[in-house]
Amino acid sequence: MTAPVKLLYFAWLREKAGVGEEDVQPPATVATVAQLIDWLETQGGGRAEAFADRKVVRVAVNQEYVSLDHPVTAGDEVAFFPPVTGG
């Protein structure tokens, strides 16, 4: 990848990961959301803990809900958050 991937974390995922927003340069082998998470878990901080239960992690790529097998490419905005509780 050339341009970085912009990551956003919300609610308790932000608190556990210890970061709200970061630009990352994952290796070229990272092609999907699931692979991005696999790689992030190796990047220290609270990231491994934040992603420990993937069933409760919701993902949006470029502000659209996606599943874990969705592609991730350079320049994407990828957001991680728990099930929403507004309203």
Binding site: L8, F10, A11, W12, A60, Q63, E64, Y65, A79, F81, P82, P83, V84, T85, G86, G87
Partner: protein, 156 residues
């Protein structure tokens, strides 16, 4: 129309504006969500609503457009607040106006059900033990699903 804001809103003025001058409207259904002082038996102080700026507006616009596509509506409104809110404060307003009351009711119900499971907001409740992120409820997922299993509500 959708609005995402920290400020409170004037419920009466918002609803009046929604129907003003349109005499084709026969019914206006609205729902206001308010901050409760109890949750699961525990006292709640202030609450903080976090959201995902940008995606929030997109999702609310999508939900509103879907309601407009499903029912013959003259006007719709979604206002959702974020930031710090106290018990009794208004959190959200959804409203739908139509020539016919069933359309107004169903669309309004649809708007809040979808908002509850699609719009990226998260509640952090202030309890005596500290801040507690509110868990999503299965009943909210179920409420959303019933709108996707048929074109309307099956029993009606």
């Amino acid at each position: 129309m959708i609005r995402v804001q920290t400020d409170d809103f004037d419920l009466g003025a918002e609803l009046k504006a929604l129907t003003a001058g349109n005499h084709a409207i026969g019914g206006l259904c609205s729902f206001v969500g308010l901050v409760r002082d109890m949750a699961g038996g525990e006292a709640i102080g202030a609450m903080t609503l976090e959201h995902y700026p940008g995606m929030t507006e997109k999702e609310l616009e999508r939900i509103e457009a879907e309601a407009q596509a499903r029912w013959p509506l003259d006007a719709t409104l979604i206002i959702h607040r974020y930031g710090r809110l106290e018990p009794g404060d208004q959190i959200v307003l959804v409203a739908a106006a139509s020539a016919h009351r069933e359309a107004a009711f169903e669309a309004c119900h649809f708007l809040i059900d979808f908002l509850k499971t699609k719009a990226p907001f998260w509640k952090l409740e202030g309890t005596p033990g500290g801040g507690q992120w509110v868990d999503a409820r299965d009943s909210d997922e179920a409420a959303t699903r019933r709108w996707t299993q048929s074109s309307g509500k099956a029993a009606e």
